[in-house]
């Protein structure tokens, strides 16, 4: 039986036009299906983790290990990123505010920028890079070498031992890391100012926080707990569903960082709006 179908440039114009239209349509369909499937699997994974996290036995030892791994070991990086942000903000704000004759507002501009937005988002992105990649690669490596199966075969729930502990550690540590990042940012913001003209730390803080209240400080810091949930959840999910050896481990690490960073930024948009509405 000879197949008389003509394809490619030799195909009739009507057939080529059909292929030209079908290909992108199929691509869009495939992408939408894949995305919906991913969200469905993520929801199922989240439910399994929540169910495992709220039922005994609780894995306190592993939780404390993860608090150290995710919290203490991210601290230098977050502090450095916060400090660098403080310096940049200070330089930029000084230049802009001096042009508009509002140099006296400089401390307040730095304080508000750091605690409202740059501190939380920079911390979220730094942690999603360091911790997201770490968790994604670690769990993916355990998956492809059957270590997660071995945990399950030892009658230990891997959602409880591996995922719940890491996600909870991310949720708990992100606000604390944000505080550290904020402190370093403000400190370096003051140092940068003090290098240009004499200004004591006391004056800088008094002036910077004079118009601030609790609502300026608490909601933006606590919103990073949501960033922690996103980073932990996505990294654990991508790691524990990995397939395909070393290449799979690489893909899991990369996708953990990319997706968690993306969702942290998207969540920030929503959370900023919510904070403005509920904590004006």
């Amino acid at each position: 039986m000879i197949d008389h179908t003509v394809t490619g440039v030799d195909a009739p114009v009507s057939q080529r036009a059909k292929t030209f239209i079908d290909a992108p349509v199929d691509f869009v369909k495939h992408t939408i299906n894949g995305t919906l499937e991913w969200f469905g699997d993520l929801g199922t994974f989240f439910w399994q983790v929540v169910r495992a996290a709220v039922t005994p036995p609780f894995e306190f030892r592993e939780l404390f290990r993860q608090l150290d791994e995710i919290g203490s070991k991210s601290l230098p990086l977050v502090a450095l990123a916060g400090a660098a942000t403080g310096v940049v903000l200070s330089l930029e704000a000084r230049y802009s505010l001096t042009r508009f004759g509002a140099k006296s507002l400089l401390p307040a501009a730095i304080v508000f920028s750091v605690i409202h937005e740059t501190g939380p988002i920079i911390t979220g992105l730094v942690v999603s890079g360091r911790v997201g990649a770490g968790i994604g690669a670690e769990l993916a490596s355990m998956k492809v070498t059957e270590q997660i199966d071995a945990i399950e075969a030892s009658a230990v729930n891997p959602y409880r031992l591996l995922a719940a502990t890491r996600i909870l550690a991310c949720i708990l540590m992100l606000p604390l890391l944000t505080l550290a990042g904020d402190a370093c940012g403000l400190l370096m913001g003051w140092v940068t100012q003090a290098m240009v003209e004499p200004l004591s730390l006391h004056q800088f803080i008094n002036s910077g926080f004079s118009g601030a209240d609790f609502n300026d400080f608490l909601p933006p810091t606590l919103k990073t707990a949501v960033f922690g949930l996103i980073i932990g959840l996505i990294a654990c999910f991508q790691g524990m569903r990995t397939q395909g050896g070393a290449a799979g481990v690489g893909r899991a690490a990369t996708s953990s960082v990319v997706l968690s960073s993306l969702f942290v930024i998207l969540a920030d948009v929503v959370l900023v709006k919510i904070i403005i509405v509920f904590f004006p």
Binding site: E146, A150, A155
Partner: protein, 265 residues
Amino acid sequence: MATTDQIDSSTVMKRQESEGKTGAPAVAVENLRQSFGSQKVLNGISLTVSRGETLAVLGRSGTGKSVLLRIIIGLQKPDSGSVRIHGQDIAGFTLDQLGEIRKKMGFLFQHAALYDSLTVEQNVAFPLQHHRKMTKSEQSDRVRGLLAEVGMEGHLDKMPADISGGMQKRVGLARALALDPDILLLDEPTAGLDPISSGEIDDLVLKLQDEHHMASIVVTHDLHSAKTIADRLALLDQGNVVIAGTFEDLQKSDIEFVREFLKHS
């Protein structure tokens, strides 16, 4: 060691009680089917293994031997068919319910699957930490005892990456025995080992079966090993059990595939 002995004897008593009550085989697999895409891996397999019995599952690569073990311990759900452990059908069990069944089972993975961030001692202690209320010294005694059983007592502080494949399998075996299981599942225990190490693993498995009287299922390509350690052998081809019986039954068989398999083994 007195505490360990007490634990062992109480566990054995519980085990005997449970089997006395149910009278069911330790493992019963019925009409198990599993496909991956269009590829049928298991095509209605039925097998039973009683307490104290060792069944070797043989077959060509890709005939679903490892998949069978993974389904028995609940790491994979079959498309259809049932798995009964001591008479309990595990279909539809949640992860925590499966956990209770798995406490009675030990699994040696093909590549040992030791936790690479833990030492040899910590690997073997892992199931004990999660399921046995023991003091640190009791736990340490138990771990040392298990590692002594498999000839690894001198390597407590080594990391899995620092020991050979054969040693990793021994440690994996010690970990599988940590909860004193009723059922032992061994996935290719001698694969990738030199003949001397393979022989040592075979001797070890025989010794452990003699001492612990477990129901064991051993998946292997190694006919010599299967002949040495198993009471019965089941030969799989294209997702079906071609023959199940003693090694002599296989030798007497007229089935073409069985003759071919024995000829090339």
